[in-house]
Symmetry: C2
Subunit: 125 residues, 2 copies
DNA sequence: CGGCATCCTAGAGGATACTG
DNA sequence: CAGTATCCTCTAGGATGCCG
């Protein structure tokens, strides 16, 4: 591994920037946030509670998180099928950080909306 | 405003989810991270230190963050032009959280790479 | 120096239909 | 129930060129 003079996240050829591609994603943040609230969740449960997510994006996000070792998928051999998702230990180390982000979003969205209106009004003149 | 029974971030029609569209973005995270390390930074300085970002994305990200009231843009009326960017007080409330994310990415990227290789090997068989 | 305007293309992501 | 498969649209985002 190269020895970077600056924080590695600034370097395009460093894997830590690729990691950001995964977790700095709206749906990933929300899915992990959801899984952090309860031990396990079923597919349909996630779909129901996350507003605005399409089935395609949910599946895709879950696969990506599973591939990255953040989420675990457990299939029960029953009919009708039952699949449960949960966080891995690695995923759990991330939850606190993402929970903070979600809470920040919920706490400050109004200030941002105000700033946007303000900014747009200035530009329209 | 409606009264949401669950955390608002789960609701498609709630602004806090729209906020995530802004800050849960790779370049936004890195730009804010960069601005958190130093009082102000010039445009070219940001471009130089953030590997892999195009000029278009840098400008676009900075505009978005400015519109959202997270970043301030200061133009000096000199020639050649000089423009400095800095965080607003609101932006600063976010830096700690995003710094944590970047540091997490730098600390755990190797585990994620390993998980990916493992996952891909399983699937290829 | 710090942009904006334009063109262009790969891929994101929705809608719909089908299946073990 | 928990997906996969297909199609189709739209936009993110790179490359290039120009400007105050």
């Amino acid at each position: 591994m190269r020895n970077f003079p600056e924080p590695e996240v600034f370097h395009a050829d460093c894997p830590s920037q690729r990691v950001l591609d995964t977790i700095a994603d709206k749906w990933s943040v929300i899915v992990i946030y959801s899984l952090s609230q309860q031990e396990t969740r079923r597919y349909s449960e996630l779909q129901r509670m996350i507003g605005g997510i399409s089935q395609k994006m949910l599946t895709q996000t879950l696969r990506k998180l599973e591939r990255d070792g953040l989420v675990e998928r457990h299939v029960y051999p029953v009919v009708p099928p039952k699949v449960e998702y949960s966080l891995t230990p690695l995923g759990m180390t991330l939850t606190e950080l993402l929970k903070n982000i979600c809470q920040w979003a919920q706490a400050h969205w109004d200030e941002i909306e105000t700033a946007r209106v303000h900014y747009d009004e200035k530009g329209d003149r």
